[in-house]
C-alpha cells in the first residue's frame, strides 16, 4: 500500500514536471574566493527549486577579481545576480543604471548574507610573536597584503588597519595615516589579488604575517595543514560584508527575477547559512553561528559605515592621488 502511494507520487511528480517543467539558467558573477562556496550553494538551491517548482535551474558562475567582475557586468556580461567582495563594486554597477541605487536595502543585513573579517595568518609557533596590529610594525617583520588598488580584499585589510589606529586612545587621522604608512613599508610584495598574496605567503615562504580574509585563512589552514600556520585575531578588526544583489536590467530581460530572488534569499535560509559557515564565512543566523562557535571566535569589529561607507572610503583612500597613493613612495 505504502509502496503504491510512493510510486503514484513519483509518477504524479514526473507527469507534472514533464507538463510544465522549464529550464532556467542564472548567471552569478562573483569574486575569487567564493568558488567552492557557490559550487555547494548552487547544487543545494537547484535541488530545492526543483522540489518546489519542478523546474531545473542551472546556475553558471563567473569568477574573477571583484572590481573586474563589476566592470564586466557594466560592459554587458549578462549576470542575473552579482555576489561581490565589497559594496562599492555593486554601487559601480548601479551607477550605470543596471540596478536600483537602493539595492543594499532590498535584502536583510545590508544585503550581505554572510560576513567575514580580517585576521593575521602567521607561521607555525608564531616565531615573531605577533598578537596585534602594532606588532606588525616591529623591525624585521614582513607583512604580506595585496595592493588595495587592484584587490577588494586588500581594501578591507587597509581599512582594518586604519580603523585600529583611529580607535586607539588619542587616535586621530594623522596618527592613522602614519600607522598605515609604516605598515605598508613592511610589505615586500604587493600582489594584485588576495589569492596571489596567499600563495606568496604560503607557497613561496615570503613574509611573517599575511593579512587575510578569515575565510581565506581558514581555507589555507585546511588545505595546507593546521601545523603549518596559525590564525591570530587582532584586538579589533573590520566587519567585512560581501554584498549580493539582483541585476534588475538583466533579470527583467531574461525573465528570471523570481528565481534570482529566491536564489539570493536561499543564502539567508538555514540551509544556505549552514553551507556558508561550512565554507568559513560567518553566518548571520544566530542559530547557525552558535553551532560553529568554535570555528569563529568572537572578535571585536567595526563596520565600514563608521568610516563613512564605501563611496566615501573609496574616494578618500583608494582613488588616484588619495591617501593610499600619498603614503606610498613616488608621490
Amino acid at each position: 500500500m505504502k509502496k503504491r502511494t510512493v510510486l503514484l507520487a513519483i509518477v504524479g511528480t514526473l507527469m507534472a514536471a514533464s507538463a510544465m517543467a522549464k529550464d532556467v539558467t542564472l548567471l552569478n558573477a562573483s569574486y575569487d574566493p567564493t568558488r567552492e562556496l557557490y559550487k555547494d550553494v548552487n547544487q543545494a538551491f537547484a535541488a530545492q527549486w526543483k522540489a518546489q517548482h519542478g523546474d531545473t535551474v542551472t546556475i553558471q558562475m563567473s569568477h574573477g577579481g571583484s572590481g573586474k567582475q563589476a566592470r564586466s557586468v557594466v560592459d554587458g556580461l549578462p549576470a542575473d545576480v552579482v555576489t561581490l567582495a565589497l559594496a562599492y563594486d555593486v554601487d559601480a554597477v548601479a551607477d550605470h543604471g543596471l540596478l536600483a541605487k537602493d539595492w543594499q536595502k532590498r535584502l536583510p543585513d545590508n544585503a550581505s548574507p554572510y560576513t567575514s573579517t580580517i585576521v593575521f595568518l602567521v607561521r607555525k609557533g608564531n616565531p615573531k610573536g605577533i598578537k596585534d596590529w602594532p606588532d606588525l610594525l616591529k623591525p624585521g617583520v614582513k607583512v604580506i597584503t595585496p595592493n588595495p588598488k587592484t584587490s577588494g580584499g586588500a581594501r578591507w585589510n587597509f581599512l582594518a588597519a586604519w580603523g585600529y589606529a583611529l580607535k586607539q586612545p588619542g587616535g586621530n587621522e594623522v596618527k592613522a595615516r602614519a600607522f598605515v604608512r609604516d605598515l605598508y613599508r613592511q610589505v615586500p610584495v604587493l600582489d594584485t589579488g588576495a589569492r596571489g598574496a596567499t600563495n606568496t605567503f604560503a607557497q613561496r615562504g615570503i613574509g611573517d604575517v599575511l593579512l587575510a580574509w578569515e575565510n581565506e585563512a581558514l581555507l589555507s589552514q585546511r588545505e595546507l595543514g593546521k601545523d603549518g600556520f596559525q590564525i591570530v585575531l587582532p584586538s579589533i578588526s573590520i566587519l567585512a560584508e560581501p554584498p549580493v544583489a539582483i541585476v534588475d536590467k538583466n533579470v527583467d530581460q531574461h525573465g528570471t527575477r523570481e528565481v534570482a530572488d529566491a536564489y539570493l534569499k536561499f543564502l539567508y535560509s538555514p540551509q544556505g547559512q549552514e553551507l556558508e559557515a561550512k565554507h568559513f564565512y560567518r553566518p548571520r543566523s544566530a542559530e547557525v553561528a552558535r553551532k560553529y562557535a568554535a570555528q569563529f571566535p568572537k572578535v571585536n569589529t567595526f563596520t565600514i559605515d563608521e568610516l563613512g561607507g564605501w563611496r566615501q572610503a573609496q574616494a578618500k583612500f583608494f582613488a588616484d592621488g588619495a591617501i593610499f597613493d600619498q603614503i606610498g613612495p613616488g608621490n
Binding site: G65, R71, N147, K149, L190, R204, I206, Q314, G330
Partner: protein, 274 residues
C-alpha cells in the same frame, strides 16, 4: 602591359586593408577616443607623476635590455641549432617554442617558484645577495623568457639559407675567423636580427601575466606600466587607463619605427657593399 603573377589584386588589397582596419586600427581608435576624455591637463599630470615615470622606465628599460639579451643569446642558439648536429637537437628545437605556448601566468608562477627565497635556485642565490624574484631583476627575467623564441625563430631560416661557400671563400682569401664573422656573416644577419629584436621588444613591453607574479609590484621599484593601467581600471578610471595605454603605444610605435629605419639603413649598406 605588365601582368601580375596573382590575379585579383584589387580584391586582395581591399581585403588586407579592411582586415587591418578592423583588427588593428579600430581598437586603437577606440583606445584613443577613450583616452581623449582625460584632457591635456590630466595627461600632463599623469606623465609628470614620478610613479608613472618609474613604471614606464622599468617597462621600456627592461624590455630593451631583455630584447638585447635575447638578440645575443638567440643568435648563439640559432647558430648552434642550424650549424651543429648533436643528440637531442630536434627536441631542443621544439622546446624553443614553449614560451609561446605556455600561458604567461604559468610561466610567471614557475619562474617565481624557482627564484623565490625558498625555491630551487633562489635558495642559493638569495644568500649571495642576488634577489631575482620580487625585484626588478625578476621583471627582466620574465621579459627575457617570453621574448626568447622570436629571435631564434626569425634567424633560423636565414642561417639555413646562408651559403657556406661564402665563408670558405673568405677563409681562402685570408680572412681570420673573426673577420669572416664580423664582415661576411653578420652583415647578412643584421636585418633579421633587428626584426627578432623588435618582436622580442614589443612582446616584453606589453607583457603582463608573467611579470606580475615575479615582480613584487612595489611602487617606484618593481611596478610595470601595464600594472598601473590595471590599477586605473580597478578604480573605474577608464580615461586614465586608456591615456596611459596610448602613451605606451606611442613609445612602442616610435621604437619600432626607429628599428625599421635601422633595418633599411643596414640593407642599403649591405647593397652598397655588394
Amino acid at each position: 602591359m605588365h601582368r601580375r603573377v596573382l590575379p585579383g589584386f584589387g580584391i586582395s588589397l581591399g581585403y588586407a586593408v579592411s582586415y587591418l582596419g578592423l583588427i588593428v586600427l579600430l581598437p586603437l581608435a577606440a583606445l584613443a577616443w577613450k583616452a581623449s576624455g582625460i584632457g591635456g591637463e590630466g595627461l600632463l599630470r599623469l606623465l609628470s607623476s614620478p610613479r608613472t615615470l618609474a613604471a614606464l622606465k622599468l617597462s621600456f628599460g627592461g624590455a630593451l635590455l631583455a630584447a638585447l639579451i635575447n638578440a645575443f643569446i638567440g643568435l648563439l642558439v640559432a647558430w648552434a641549432l642550424v650549424r651543429y648536429r648533436f643528440p637531442g637537437r630536434r627536441l631542443f628545437d621544439a622546446l624553443i617554442d614553449l614560451p609561446f605556448a605556455l600561458p604567461t601566468a604559468v610561466a610567471g608562477i614557475a619562474l617565481t617558484a624557482l627564484y623565490a627565497p625558498n625555491g630551487w635556485l633562489g635558495r642559493w642565490l638569495v644568500p649571495l645577495g642576488i634577489q631575482v624574484a620580487y625585484a626588478p631583476l625578476g621583471v627582466l627575467l620574465a621579459m627575457v623568457f617570453v621574448g626568447f623564441p622570436f629571435v631564434v625563430r626569425t634567424l633560423q631560416p636565414v642561417l639555413q639559407s646562408l651559403d657556406r661557400d661564402v665563408e670558405e671563400a673568405a677563409e681562402s682569401l685570408g680572412a681570420s675567423r673573426w673577420q669572416t664573422f664580423a664582415r661576411v656573416i653578420l652583415p647578412v644577419l643584421v636585418p633579421t636580427l633587428l626584426t627578432g629584436f623588435a618582436l622580442a621588444l614589443a612582446r616584453a613591453v606589453g607583457e603582463y601575466g608573467s611579470v606580475i607574479f615575479i615582480a613584487g609590484n612595489i611602487p617606484m621599484r618593481s611596478e610595470i606600466a601595464p600594472l598601473l593601467i590595471v590599477q586605473k581600471l580597478e578604480a573605474f578610471d577608464y580615461a586614465g587607463a586608456a591615456a596611459l595605454g596610448v602613451v605606451m603605444l606611442s613609445f612602442s610605435f616610435l621604437l619600432l619605427i626607429l628599428i625599421s629605419l635601422l633595418q633599411r639603413w643596414s640593407n642599403r649598406w649591405e647593397e652598397r657593399a655588394a
